[in-house]
């Protein structure tokens, strides 16, 4: 039986994100070919649920706040590439868990008339809880929606899934027997970005 903890603030946050998705309609001309020459960046805050499984793992789904930063350039009007950094934290039984991510990220916008875009990436994920830690390759897939809110800024949200299947859990550098870990994380976040 997995334990899922959802603080009331997170429930409100999720409701807000869903409202944004529901209210957002395709915006003609939002995304123009001008951006093909521009760099882009965004910064997001969100809520992430992480599950780590291994032979000895509890398999609990732990949830906590997360932060994301990304910067890159437009390879074409529909395709953005860049690098992404992110972090997540959760307090479990007085033990602070932290996950850091870094990697290459790509975004594909199917229609310039819509804020919808798809996200893919490949990078590194590191987990630490006091003396216990692992690092692994991380695969990212997801989707988002971006909405202009002023002439200079956009607000967006994204739902992204991280899959990191090849970790080896270590205790202060020593491998833990039965510690071949697989990590799945579901990130829901809202971000701001210059237009």
């Amino acid at each position: 039986m997995h334990r899922i903890y959802i603080a009331p603030m997170y429930v409100g946050f999720l409701a807000w994100l869903l409202a944004i998705l529901a209210l957002t309609t395709p915006v003609a001309g939002q995304l123009t070919e001008e951006r093909a020459d521009r760099f882009w960046w965004d910064a997001g805050l969100g809520f992430t649920s992480v599950q780590v499984t291994c032979r000895l793992c509890t398999g609990d789904i732990d949830s906590g706040p997360s932060i994301d930063l990304a910067v890159g350039t437009w390879a074409s009007p529909r395709v953005a590439v860049g690098v992404e950094l992110g972090g997540w934290t959760h307090l479990e039984s007085d033990v602070r868990e932290r996950v850091l991510r870094a990697g290459l990220s790509g975004r594909f916008t199917p229609s310039l008339e819509s804020g919808l875009h798809f996200i893919g990436g490949l990078g590194w994920m590191g987990y630490r809880a006091e003396d216990f830690h692992y690092s692994t390759v991380n695969v990212v897939v997801g989707a988002g929606w971006e909405l202009p809110v002023s002439s200079g800024w956009s607000v967006g949200n994204r739902l992204v899934f991280d899959a990191a299947p090849f970790g080896t859990l270590k205790n202060d550098g020593v491998s833990v027997p039965g510690g071949s870990v697989r990590t799945g994380a579901l990130r829901l976040s809202v971000y701001v970005a210059p237009r």
Partner: protein
């Protein structure tokens, strides 16, 4: 959130069976060839209603074919007679019991001389105390419990006499320690382990203070790791006699802190464990001013200032002897801090033979050796630390009295 769980499970793969609890083969059935020194040493006192023959019927044939005493209830269920002492928790409820059977009391003591130690060390019968717990959640290193779930079955027996002067000086005590965990950790160790320095005790209310209490028996007892934390008259004065609110538990609490090891020839450590065996109500404390250096807590209850207070309250001013079943100090309130359980035996074998002190482990028997079992495992990465067993239990029973 159910959908989140389903989505996460896509890549996290269905959890496989996490239980790798090691299993030792049950002990071979060995025909009885004689009686161990520990057998038949208990005789009933004036307050005990069971004859010795009933008591001696609670026995087990050890791996050496000798008949040893073993656990029995405080009251014989067949006749209703009382033994006047107890051995703690019935080991048959332990999940490990099927693998280890009844615990022979005095198996390590039996072979001390034969191993070449140079002197015998035998212990009384009533001091053998059993404790166990199944499926105990363990603490996994520093931070590992956030992610990992390791549970252990632990079954232990220590000879912990808290009624006489024996432990003031004597540091060699028999411990049988059995642990099985779902991460693969497991061992069964029987040792005559030196606890702290021979001839010396550590003062319970001032652990920086070591008192030389006399010469150990045997005099060649080696010093060991850990310590025997024992109450003294100074602790009684500080926390009972001179305290505004007397606290017998705080004054009398004993803690025998073991540093147990099985070492291979050459000194490599195969197993280490360090449980703390604690007793809240010993029937003695160290008082160098008295003959035999043994003070009796229950005698304090006769003092006017302590009548009806703290642990003396049930006596309601009545004066009872130290070995009365009515005494509130009988050594029946005990618990065990399991602490660390380290195994370094990844390459095996599982069966080792050691001298009774757990040293010189070899793969074949040798004169005076005793059998140990260690799972093929190395748990360095998990650094398992155990919880507490028996904190809420009390082994008082009909007819139980000191010496217990």
């Amino acid at each position: 959130m159910r959908r989140i769980a389903i989505a996460l499970a896509v890549v996290s793969t269905l959890a496989c069976d996490s239980d790798r609890t090691p299993t030792a083969p049950p002990p071979d059935s060995v025909p009885a060839v004689g009686f161990a020194t520990a057998h038949g040493i208990w005789t009933p006192g004036p307050q005990d209603t069971c004859p010795a023959a009933v008591h001696d019927s609670y026995s087990v044939v050890g791996p050496d074919g000798l008949v040893y005493p073993t656990w029995h209830p405080a009251v014989d269920p067949a006749t209703g007679c009382t033994f006047g002492h107890e051995h703690g928790r019935d080991p048959s409820g332990s999940d490990i019991y099927a693998q280890v059977g009844d615990i022979p009391f005095g198996y390590a003591n039996q072979y001390l001389e034969a191993s070449g130690f140079g002197a015998p060390r035998h212990e009384d019968h009533v001091g053998h105390k059993v404790e166990w717990e199944n499926d105990m959640p363990m603490r996994v290193g520093d931070g590992g419990s956030a992610l990992l779930s390791v549970t252990c079955d632990v079954l232990v027996k220590l000879h912990q006499g808290t009624h006489s002067a024996d432990a003031f000086t004597n540091n060699m005590h028999e411990v049988a320690y059995h642990v099985r965990c779902n991460d693969g950790t497991g061992f069964s160790a029987t040792l005559l382990t030196p606890i702290g320095d021979a001839g010396e005790l550590v003062v319970s209310c001032d652990r920086d203070r070591h008192i030389s209490a006399g010469t150990a028996n045997p005099a060649i007892s080696p010093d060991g790791g850990g310590k025997r934390v024992i109450p003294t008259m100074a602790c009684v004065e500080e926390r009972v006699l001179n305290a505004e609110r007397p606290r017998f538990d705080g004054a009398l609490r004993e803690s025998w802190e073991i540093s147990g090891r099985i070492r291979a020839e050459g000194g490599r450590t195969l197993v280490s464990f360090n449980p703390y065996f604690q007793v809240m109500d010993p029937s003695r404390f160290f008082d160098p001013a008295l003959t035999g250096k043994v003070g009796r807590p229950v005698d304090l209850c006769a003092l006017e200032q302590l009548q009806d207070r703290d642990r003396c309250a049930p006596l309601a001013g009545q004066t009872v002897s130290w070995d009365s079943p009515q005494s509130p100090f009988k050594g029946v309130r005990r618990f065990v801090d399991v602490n660390s359980n380290n195994v370094r035996n990844a390459d095996g074998p599982e069966v080792w033979w050691t001298d009774p002190l757990g040293q010189n482990a070899r793969t074949t028997p040798f004169p005076g050796s005793i059998r140990q079992w260690i799972a093929r495992h190395d748990n360095k990465g998990t650094d398992l630390r155990g919880a507490v067993m028996g904190k809420d239990r009390d082994y008082d029973g009909e007819g139980v009295h000191a010496p217990n």
